[in-house]
Symmetry: C2
Subunit: 319 residues, 2 copies
Amino acid sequence: MEAAEERPRRRPAGLGVLALLCSSLLLNVLFLAYYYFLSPPSQLADGGSCGLSWALRAARDAEALAATDSCSGHGQVFLDGVVGEDGRPGCECNRCFDGPHCSIRTPNCTADATSGDPLFLEPYWKRHAAASAVLVPGWHRLSYATTDGLFQSVELENHIRRLHRAVGNAVVDGKRLVFGAGSTQLINALVHALSPDANAAAASPPARVVATAPYYPPYRTQTAMFDGREYRWEGTTAAAWANASRNSSSFIEFVTSPNNPDALLRAPVLRGSAVIADHAYYWPHFTHIAAPADEDVMLFTMSKPSGHAGSRLGCVATC
Amino acid sequence: MEAAEERPRRRPAGLGVLALLCSSLLLNVLFLAYYYFLSPPSQLADGGSCGLSWALRAARDAEALAATDSCSGHGQVFLDGVVGEDGRPGCECNRCFDGPHCSIRTPNCTADATSGDPLFLEPYWKRHAAASAVLVPGWHRLSYATTDGLFQSVELENHIRRLHRAVGNAVVDGKRLVFGAGSTQLINALVHALSPDANAAAASPPARVVATAPYYPPYRTQTAMFDGREYRWEGTTAAAWANASRNSSSFIEFVTSPNNPDALLRAPVLRGSAVIADHAYYWPHFTHIAAPADEDVMLFTMSKPSGHAGSRLGCVATC
């Protein structure tokens, strides 16, 4: 009887064990199935690529390099930096620092107050790393032309207009934008474009290119260097004004506002001259913006608002 | 005896089931533990970022766009393309195709044989997608200067020298490299650099810029456009040769080899002239390379060897 009584008690326990076993086995099968078939491709198939294929290496290279951070806060490692013995780019040190980790102060190094470098904007871009990273595929823009057969990026143009509208520092609606490799390249392009044609039938005398002192020296050095037959560097507006009655030639006046180097807001002083309004510094982090600038020819550059001096982009907004 | 015999037989079976159950449960625990604790960070902790943080979005954007491939093979989607109503860049169609997917053939579209576009190199770069992708961080090269305070990339220079050595089409050892926004920009820079100084005390007559017909038209149009006082466009070498005895001024001769437009290998024809050797097409996929070119001033461009016409990079190798 005891045995007989035990058996009915043991049978449900055995069934429970079997049920548990079946569930457990089923769970294992499900785990295995999930592991092999249902999980995202990142987990197994491609060794942790989280669904990325060709873009993964570039992304990892960039992050690995940025994470190095071995330049003591006085330098930077760049993807296209000079490769050292270990096969990786090394630190490029800021002025006055040296050594493999930029940790050695250069002795007797003095500050150069005659020019600047927009490196102070670096922390901003590092804070916005995800929003500002761009992955460029190897086949990017192989053609000479961009959208609709144009030679400049329509979307870049849209973004520049949106930026000026948002900041409120320039009226760009109804104006054309022309890009250059930095605004330096556009300085002579404008002088050339605003000068009379030296080969015309009734050739005018060359345009006289002037600026009010103190002015940004490349206006002079570049105009003198190109040495065109249509224009010549005439010096300061004061001298030009004194000689104006003796000469009927036209003026091209550089007006930099805020001025470089003295940061004053400037307006043209020679009546009737063609004006190149250089608004490189007309941004809220450099000056008060009284009203959006709205001259016929306005120069801007990427080195001042965003700090990308090394990427060489300038633009002219013109009627 | 039958019951007694049965029991010993059943007990091992029960033990077996129990052992199986324990193993299965242990496996369950292991799977769970792996799933929650041991799996790479990609799987759970950071939502599939496979260890990437700020570079992930740019990499995914680029791959997603490249995978769209909705342009019927007659166009391309670019990251900086014009954004449509769906917030994504649309197709930019090749010549003679139109519509949102570039699937509509433009009626009566004729081929333009006067100029080309290096789009035939696109399949090559797509096959080498991983090796050619570059992720540019937002703080890339903010400074005006690059490595060691120079204004051009030392590593780019190294790569260009390595490329020429590997291909064997130019001797670049011991020569300086100068970069420009395409070789077009360097054409006038060279004319300017090779001309005599118009402002020197004993000013020489302007240099006479010539080329043998048929020549690449921008030599003429650009030289004429800049209209410097130090040089002037003189036409073909044949005309220059005829007039040479009457004029003591120096010549600057453009020698394009292989020539554009007739693909002939060319050599200078005017003795004693300064030569600008334009080797844009001196690459094995365009011509036979008899020997590495070794002139004093050699022009190259990125649009011909790699097809990156839209990225605007040219270079001069000079002694």
